[in-house]
């Protein structure tokens, strides 16, 4: 196999899936990804939540410091009945004070302060403690911590309370993927393990990535990662179609909208993405993929698949023979044979299609 995983550790999609795996229950002695978060009672509280600054904070910061009104971090973890929270943001690398990520970082720092209780509506201000943690690629932790430190000082200057902060750095050694973190993270979350922690063992000529619970992120960095994530997305869409058709009572007519397919393939994450351009891009990907599937199906079974822009893809399965033949051909379809690095061109009907 062509193993090119240089970009893996910097890839936000890999980082997001890794962070989720760190919180998955697994036997401590037979682990697959060392369940660092699970073992230390850090559980997923929310995935991709939209968080807004309270009104008084917005008033207080206006004209003093530039930030966003709302922000959507990748994950929030909670510990000890939400007494302690961790806002986790995945980034390929650190960034400096002139970066376009600064506004988001300031907003996250503010939200990680005493207002977290109110922002999440779990208590009065100050009742819960929070730490903003960045999960970043190799050799970027010091720089990232330095940026966050500078931002905290700026917030202090304008008398705005911010939260704790820290960085998890994911990087490879010859034998394992390790996670490094600072002492303040260890103390804040009472982690039992000293940094660094081996989280996945690396085997010769083997890509160490875990199964992806979430298969796609529009911000993927490298060509290799983009191709693989598209492949996973397509496999999951195809699997969903095969499941639905395989279990159907015949005769039937099954309608797949691109939205339904994308939600099925992403555990519903598609619905909560706010990036409209990214969603448009995904819909186009899904539509093209369905077109590819349809063209691969031989006549006369192909005629049973039609597309109506206001309805979606309609699979008309009139009898058992059609059902069996359609299933057989769908199971033989190989997403790996498609051009997975193809540029996605917008179409005139992007907003109309279902």
């Amino acid at each position: 196999m062509n193993l090119n995983i240089n970009g893996l550790y910097k890839d936000p999609l890999f980082q997001l899936n890794l962070a989720i795996w760190l919180s998955q229950p697994q036997p401590f002695s037979e682990f697959y990804v060392y369940p660092l978060f699970y073992k230390n009672n850090l559980n997923i509280y929310s995935i991709g939540p939209a968080l807004a600054l309270p009104f008084d904070i917005r008033l207080a910061v206006s004209k003093k410091i530039s930030c966003q009104e709302n922000v959507r971090p990748d994950l929030i973890f909670e510990k000890s009945g939400k007494k302690k929270l961790c806002i986790l943001e995945c980034k390929s690398s650190s960034f400096g004070l002139k970066s376009s990520n600064i506004k988001q970082a300031i907003t996250l720092l503010l939200i990680s302060g005493p207002i977290i209780s109110e922002v999440l509506a779990i208590g009065k201000r100050g009742e819960n403690e929070c730490m903003l943690c960045y999960l970043i690629g190799p050799d970027n932790r010091k720089l990232m911590e330095s940026t966050l430190n500078s931002l905290k000082q700026e917030l202090d200057k304008v008398k705005m309370e911010s939260g704790n902060f820290g960085c998890f750095e994911v990087k490879p050694t010859p034998t394992a993927i390790i996670l490094e973190y600072s002492e303040n993270i260890k103390k804040f979350f009472n982690l039992m393990e000293d940094s660094p922690v081996e989280i996945i063992k690396i085997e010769k000529d083997t890509d160490p990535r875990p199964l992806y619970l979430f298969p796609y992120d529009p911000n993927i960095q490298t060509k290799e990662e983009q191709e693989l994530s598209r492949r996973i997305l397509f496999e999951r869409i195809l699997g969903h179609i095969i499941s639905e058709i395989g279990g159907a009572d015949i005769p039937t007519s099954i309608i797949f909208t691109t939205e339904k397919l994308l939600n099925a393939a992403t555990f519903g994450l598609y619905n909560i993405w706010e990036d409209k351009e990214a969603k448009k891009h995904l819909r186009k990907l899904a539509r093209d993929f369905l077109n590819e599937i349809r063209s691969s199906i031989n006549e006369p079974v192909r005629e049973s698949i039609t597309h109506e822009s206001q309805k979606g893809w309609i699979f008309n399965i009139k009898d058992k023979e059609t059902h069996e033949e359609l299933l057989k051909q769908l199971q033989r379809f190989k997403p790996e044979t498609l051009d997975l690095s193809k540029e996605v061109e917008p179409s005139l009907f992007d907003y109309m299609e279902l």
Binding site: P25, P27, E235
Partner: protein, 430 residues
């Protein structure tokens, strides 16, 4: 294993079933019939087939499950109600054969009782399950049988005899002749003790043997033997000694139960006990393993979603060799009909590591897997029946590694079965 040597026209059995039209008649008839067969077994001259029961699972979502009548009607099988939750089953596809009786234990579990010969009954049930994505066998893995054996040894008198069948065949080892066969679904392990000159030498591990001994002896030796020889973990049939006489009830890994006792009511009672354990185990497995996005606030759609679920981890006792791994992957995902009934396009991540975002083709539900030479990890999205997990564990023990350990999240599967069996306890009705 079919030890019945019976020659009797099927039509007679069909007619006898046809004449039974109430629960009381069915119970009395099957009770008397079982007693007669037991006498014949004692004399080693069985004249008619034994009573067999098949535990089946209705795998549709709760609430959207079809009625059993409608489900069977799709295959031109008529269910004639003879009592509440009890049906006489007539197969209209054949010569209007009366096949047996179906008792609805709960919306999720059925028991099919029959007097037909094993060959005929096994085939009939297997075809029914194969054709319907709504039905599945109740899968009792070697790990489950090991726990059931502990329950037997707890309450059975030490001098009673227990019978245990162990079946393990490493069909994915490189010399496997089965690999050449196009359709594996109809293949069952068949091992002959006879030596023939013209049989090609197949070098792979294959174990199938039966142990019949006193409960006290098995209790003392089995664990030690299992530690010495791992195929002994692959229990695929276990006899519950009958408390009302000689013989007992032979439970098979695919949910079949043969009545080798003289009492049908006791036979049914044992099935109900095992089904209750299985139901508890299923609830626990699904509750723990199902992956889904859970919304904390329902008023704001899409807000505060969290992922809940646990991976299913099957850890092999020792790494598979490269050839075996390759064979397993190729014969499972390289053909539409495969023993594991899985579909998926492997994403190759290394010499002995693949990811598959696939489908359990029995139930037509998604399942995501990492397969390596050391483990199988499965992510089961919500709605995929827990049966997928139990069947997977059963097949891994039978065909890959009899001593494999399974976990649902951080809980060992074996302890989950133990817990389930402990929860099935007597509770006074009043």
């Amino acid at each position: 294993m079919n030890t019945e040597k019976v020659k009797m026209p099927d039509i007679d059995i069909s007619n006898e079933i046809k004449s039974i039209n109430s629960r009381e008649k069915m119970i009395r008839y099957l009770d008397g019939y079982s007693a007669e067969r037991m006498e014949e077994l004692d004399e080693r001259k069985t004249k008619r087939p034994l009573v067999k029961s098949y535990m089946l699972e209705h795998v549709g979502d709760n609430g959207s499950q079809k009625k059993i009548r409608d489900l069977l009607a799709e295959f031109r099988i008529e269910s004639q109600e003879i009592d509440e939750n009890l049906y006489r089953i007539e197969d209209k596809r054949t010569n209007e054969d009366y096949m047996g009786f179906l008792e609805v234990f709960s919306p999720r579990y059925f028991i099919f009782y029959t007097l037909h010969l094993s060959d005929k009954a096994d085939r009939w049930v297997k075809n029914l399950v194969f054709s319907s994505p709504d039905l599945d066998h109740v899968w009792l893995s070697g790990l489950t049988f090991n726990v059931l054996w502990q329950r037997i040894s707890q309450i059975s008198k030490p001098h009673r005899y227990v019978s245990i069948l162990f079946v393990h065949e490493s069909i994915y080892q490189i010399d496997s002749a089965i690999y050449e066969d196009e359709n594996e679904d109809d293949k069952e392990i068949s091992l002959s003790l006879e030596e023939e000159d013209d049989i090609k030498v197949i070098e792979r591990r294959a174990s199938k043997f039966k142990l019949v001994d006193k409960v006290s002896i098995v209790q003392e030796k089995l664990t030690k033997l299992q530690d010495l020889y791992s195929p002994l973990y692959a229990i695929s049939q276990l006899r519950f000694p009958s408390p009302v006489g000689q013989g007992g009830h032979d439970f098979y890994d695919n949910g079949k139960v043969t009545n080798r006792s003289g009492n049908f009511r006791d036979h049914r009672s044992h099935i109900l006990y095992v089904l209750k354990i299985y139901d508890e185990l299923m609830k626990k497995t699904e509750e723990k393993a199902w992956y889904s996005m859970y919304k904390e606030t329902i008023t704001i759609p899409g807000e505060f979603q969290k992922l809940i679920g646990s991976p299913v981890i099957i850890k092999f006792s020792e790494p598979l060799n490269k050839e075996t791994f390759d064979y397993w992957i190729k014969s499972t995902f390289g053909r539409l009909n495969n023993r594991f009934r899985l579909w998926g396009n492997p994403i190759i991540l290394g010499p002995t590591k693949i990811h598959v975002y696939g489908v359990d083709k029995h139930l037509w539900k998604p399942v995501f897997m990492e397969l390596t030479d050391k483990h199988l990890i499965a992510i089961v999205p919500k709605g995929t029946c827990g049966n997928t997990i139990h069947r997977l564990i059963c097949n891994i023990q039978k065909y890959i590694d009899p001593a494999a350990k399974a976990y649902i999240g951080d809980i060992e599967y074996k302890s989950m079965v133990e817990q389930s069996s402990k929860e099935v306890v007597y509770e006074p009705e009043h």
